[in-house]
């Protein structure tokens, strides 16, 4: 509107200057008209042939991991662009890679950031605003190119996480570092390697081949882990990373990583809106699949964690250790956990204390079976420390 007024005013001034032939009037008209024309032309030409290249190493990022993105801005026109604003329109929290540059030759810079949210992270689109110095006109170019990167949940170290004592015969503490060495089923034989214990030597075959042969073992299903994750909408509390949902998912991802690192399989049952079940498989490693699910998982379920449908799914995957993660203050899930059949099924419960995230203080009463290990996770807790001090963290001891 103001430019239209400017044009109209200049038109009037030109008419009167022409009629009166007053030199000052022409100077005024020339000056204002030239500055307007120059600004208009400048903004248009400076934005011509503009190109922005963005590149980033994707990898398998997790929340909290740093990244570096590279920007290169160039143009093909000959008109200099003294003020070019390059802005990233993605919604990454805390990531401001934009620059104000002066564009003649190509300009390159790197921007560093940190993944602060799991799920799909979009880099782009990019907005480039070219301004001429007088601020009368500007050109804005929106480059729609986007990079999508899946960010996995934050994985925290859990070095002391071990199975409950009765999962293995003997002293759990002593066997903690070698629990995978004693699977119940033999899978094959190989030549003896220095360091193999005598218990692994297959004596009949050693006699036949006249050299020591050691047994190899397959992972037993009973040593695998099934995570039961509570994704009911109404039990979670908090926003962003400091929420019970993120803690629960991060906990699940950390357990998944640790257990897979130990060579065992992990499955998952969740009470989200889709009723997700990821059964552990003997030959297919579900580590990546489970992480991908956890990356996009949302607390959108309606069923409570103690609902029979949930535990029916759990029972269909027998003989596994159960790790329940929930912020639910309804202690009915304790009963479900204890009611699981099989003496070899160990049960661990991670209770994410919503009160520490600002939720109203619940009145909890847990009556735990001796087979159920309970851990309480509070806001700001270090998972590794949590494991070491599980006795102290126990909320209610049966």
């Amino acid at each position: 509107m103001s430019r239209l007024l400017l044009a109209a005013g200049l038109g009037l001034l030109l008419v009167f200057a022409y009629l009166t032939a007053i030199h000052s009037a022409f100077v005024l008209f020339y000056g204002l008209a030239l500055i307007g024309l120059l600004a208009w032309f400048w903004a248009r030409q400076a934005a011509r042939g503009l190109q922005v290249d963005r590149s980033i190493e994707a990898g398998t990022p997790t929340v909290g991991e740093a990244f570096e993105e590279s920007f290169t801005v160039s143009k093909s026109g000959w008109v200099p662009a003294p003020w070019v604003e390059v802005s990233d329109l993605s919604d990454l929290p805390g990531y401001r890679p934009g620059r104000v540059i002066s564009l003649g030759d190509p300009v390159t810079w790197n921007a560093n950031g940190t993944y602060r949210r799991r799920g799909w992270t979009v880099f782009g689109p990019t907005r480039v605003k070219v301004k001429e110095p007088f601020g009368l006109f500007h050109r804005e170019v929106r480059l729609p190119d986007r990079h999508r990167i899946l960010v996995y949940p934050r994985i925290r170290p859990m070095p002391d996480f071990v199975m409950p004592a009765h999962q293995h015969s003997g002293d759990a503490q002593r066997l903690a570092s070698a629990w995978a060495d004693y699977p119940p089923e033999t899978g094959g034989v190989r030549e003896y390697v220095d360091g193999d214990s005598f218990g692994r030597v297959h004596w009949p075959l050693s006699q036949r081949y006249q050299r020591l042969m050691s047994k190899t073992f397959e992972q037993a299903l009973t040593s695998d882990l099934l995570i039961v994750l509570d994704l009911q909408r109404k039990v979670h509390y908090g926003e962003g990373e400091e929420s019970t949902l993120e803690y629960a998912i991060s906990l699940a991802a950390s357990i998944n990583a640790q257990v897979h690192q130990q060579g065992r399989q992990v499955g998952l049952v969740a009470n989200d809106s889709r009723g997700t079940v990821l059964s552990p498989h003997r030959t297919v490693r579900l580590e990546r699949s489970l992480l991908e699910y956890l990356a996009v998982a949302e607390a959108d379920g309606e069923l409570p964690i103690w609902a029979p449908q949930i535990w029916e799914r759990v029972r269909r995957i027998p003989g596994r250790m159960i790790a329940l993660i929930t912020p639910s203050t309804d202690a009915s899930w304790i009963a479900n956990l204890e009611a699981l059949p099989g003496r070899r099924t160990a049960r661990v419960a991670f209770y994410v204390d919503a009160a520490s995230f600002g939720a109203p203080e619940p009145h909890l009463t847990f009556e735990l079976h001796t087979d159920v290990e309970l851990y309480v996770v509070r806001k700001g807790d270090d998972f590794s420390r949590l494991m070491r001090t599980r006795q102290a963290a126990r909320l209610v001891d049966a």
Binding site: S2, R99, P133, G135
Partner: protein, 559 residues
């Protein structure tokens, strides 16, 4: 300075405010230089205060815009009134607070009556400059939209420029320079704040490149603007006036004819007569007879018909009729002698004109036209002498004769006039004491007479009066027949000269043994305003050699 104070009053905006103040000062001083009204220096202070007040209001962020703008509007009324209250009350003692009614205001503004009511124009001008300064400061400092803020000021500057010749050159350049600087600075500040607010970091050379290219562009634009030749070199306002405005006026005239009270009829009006000489120029003949006249056979005087006298009271270089409401005016009954103060100082010739006005001027339908010096008229008239306010009769100069009964010049009337008829020697000895200016020459030769006739033709300008080509050699300024129709005159077609040298003409008929008689050189007031003295000297005037109100110019005149 504490962070809180910085947040309330951003110190970094002070350069912006300084640029605004400079721009406002240029605009106000540009207007003061035009001398629109006496005492207009006040407008500079008003504009500066407005820019300061509104700039500070704009800087104090916690104040909502609506509150600040309301305060500014209140200031636009209060401050100009307080500054002009004394003059307003003195000028309008009967009006409450010295402020006349709106219809009076509008009438005076339309009549450009600056000198007779300077307080009113000072008040209006003060309010205007409060708005100009305040609006610019607000738009630049708070809204960061200097283009919007510049409109009122630019309009005022353009008006000044278009009504000037050379006085505005410096102000124009200063205005452009400061405007460009303001645009640059404002753009830089706005871009910087936007970038910081958006989390954009500035590269190391972006600041430098911005100012480098901006200043270079400013210099180039300024140079081009100064040295680019104008698109036109001849004043064409007159052509437009003739072509467009005049047609429009003629159209309006034809649509609405004035109703004359007391006559019960309507009369068309003519448009070739004006009370001021602003952007005026040549008129094209339309063929409509304005008035006709017949003259007694003994009359040898000039046949230029005077309507009103123009003067330079309003502005130094512009002429206009000054309708001073406090001027001297007297009623003269039908056929009574005009009470002159010094009529008998010199013996003059007399003559009688019978005039039939067919189309009174639209701007002054009551003005009676007559040549020479008026002695009697067969109508009830009111005689005006604008620049005298308290002197008792008799008259010295007649600036205007208005028909009182009837209230229009339409119709027939008879005037008795007298005119001087001195010889050149009489003029030299009696008027100027022998120091006759060198460039005021008597021209008796046909060539000189032609030049003079041309010059006179130009001088006639838009006045009412014919220039019969057959009379050029006759040396008479007018040689109309007994019932010579006087048409709406037009500017002479050949008007190339920048200097106008006037010649008194010797009557070809007056030779033959007798000494040449100098015809008093008369320039119709309608033309004089567009002439400007080269050296700014006042026009020399030959007292009673010319009839009252007529000037004899002895210096080079420049269009």
């Amino acid at each position: 300075m504490s962070d809180r104070l910085r947040r309330w009053l951003p110190v970094s905006e002070i350069p912006t405010l300084v640029l605004v103040l400079l721009l406002v000062m240029v605009l106000a001083n540009s207007t003061v230089a035009m001398e629109w009204v006496k005492g207009s220096e006040l407008w500079v202070q008003v504009a500066i205060w407005a820019a300061l007040v509104m700039g500070l209001l704009a800087l104090v962020r916690p104040l909502p815009a609506a509150v600040s703008l309301t305060l500014g509007l209140v200031g636009a009324v209060l401050v100009p009134y307080l500054l002009n209250a004394h003059a307003l009350v003195l000028a309008h003692p009967s009006d409450p607070f010295g402020i006349p009614s709106p219809d009076t205001w509008i009438a005076r503004i339309n009549a450009s009556d600056q000198q007779s009511d300077a307080s009113l124009f000072l008040f209006v001008g003060s309010a205007a400059f409060w708005v100009v300064g305040g609006w610019l400061a607000w738009c630049v400092v708070r809204w960061r939209r200097p283009l919007v803020g510049l409109y009122p000021g630019t309009a005022i500057l353009a008006t000044n420029i278009l009504n000037s010749r050379d006085e505005q050159n410096g102000y124009t350049l200063l205005f452009l320079l400061i405007t460009f600087a303001l645009l640059l600075w404002n753009s830089y500040r706005a871009s910087l704040l936007t970038a910081l607010r958006s989390g954009l970091k500035l590269s190391s050379d972006s600041r430098w490149d911005f100012w480098e290219t901006g200043v270079a562009a400013t210099v180039v634009v300024m140079l081009v603007a100064i040295f680019l030749p104008p698109l036109s070199s001849q004043d064409a306002t007159v052509n437009v006036e003739n072509g467009v405005f005049r047609d429009w006026a003629q159209f309006q005239q034809n649509l609405s004819r004035q109703v004359l009270i007391g006559h019960g009829g309507t009369a068309p009006l003519s448009i070739g007569f004006a009370l001021e000489a602003g952007l005026a120029g040549p008129l094209k003949p339309k063929g409509n007879v304005v008035f006709t006249y017949s003259v007694s056979s003994q009359y040898t005087g000039p046949r230029y018909f005077r309507g009103v006298n123009l003067d330079t009271g309003l502005r130094r270089y512009e002429w206009s009729y000054i309708p001073n409401p406090f001027g001297y005016q007297t009623f003269v009954a039908k056929s009574e002698a005009i009470p002159y103060a010094d009529l008998a100082l010199l013996s003059q010739q007399t003559g009688t004109f019978d005039i039939t006005m067919d189309r009174p001027p639209n701007v002054a339908p009551d003005v009676l036209f007559y040549p020479g010096q008026l002695l009697k008229i067969n109508r009830d008239v009111t005689v005006f002498e604008s620049l005298r306010t308290s002197a008792p009769p008799p008259l010295v100069n007649i600036d205007r004769v208005s028909s009182t009964h009837p209230p229009s010049s339409l119709g027939k009337y008879r005037v008795n006039v007298q005119y001087p008829n001195p010889t050149e020697a009489e003029l030299r000895n009696a008027v100027l004491g022998g120091a006759f200016p060198g460039d005021l020459r008597c021209g008796a030769s046909p060539g000189r007479a032609r030049r003079c006739a041309r010059a006179r033709g130009r001088a006639a300008g838009r006045a009412l009066g014919p220039v019969p080509p057959e009379d050029r050699d006759a040396g008479r300024l007018h040689h109309a027949g007994p019932r010579q129709p006087v048409r709406q005159s037009h500017r002479d077609r050949d008007l190339p000269a920048q200097q106008l040298q006037l010649h008194a003409l010797a009557s070809a008929r007056s030779s033959g043994g007798r000494p040449d008689r100098l015809l008093p050189l008369q320039l119709e007031g309608r033309l004089l305003p567009v002439l400007r003295q080269r050296h700014g000297r006042p026009a020399s005037r030959i007292g009673h050699s010319c009839p009252a109100g007529e000037r004899l110019w002895s210096r080079d005149l420049r269009l």
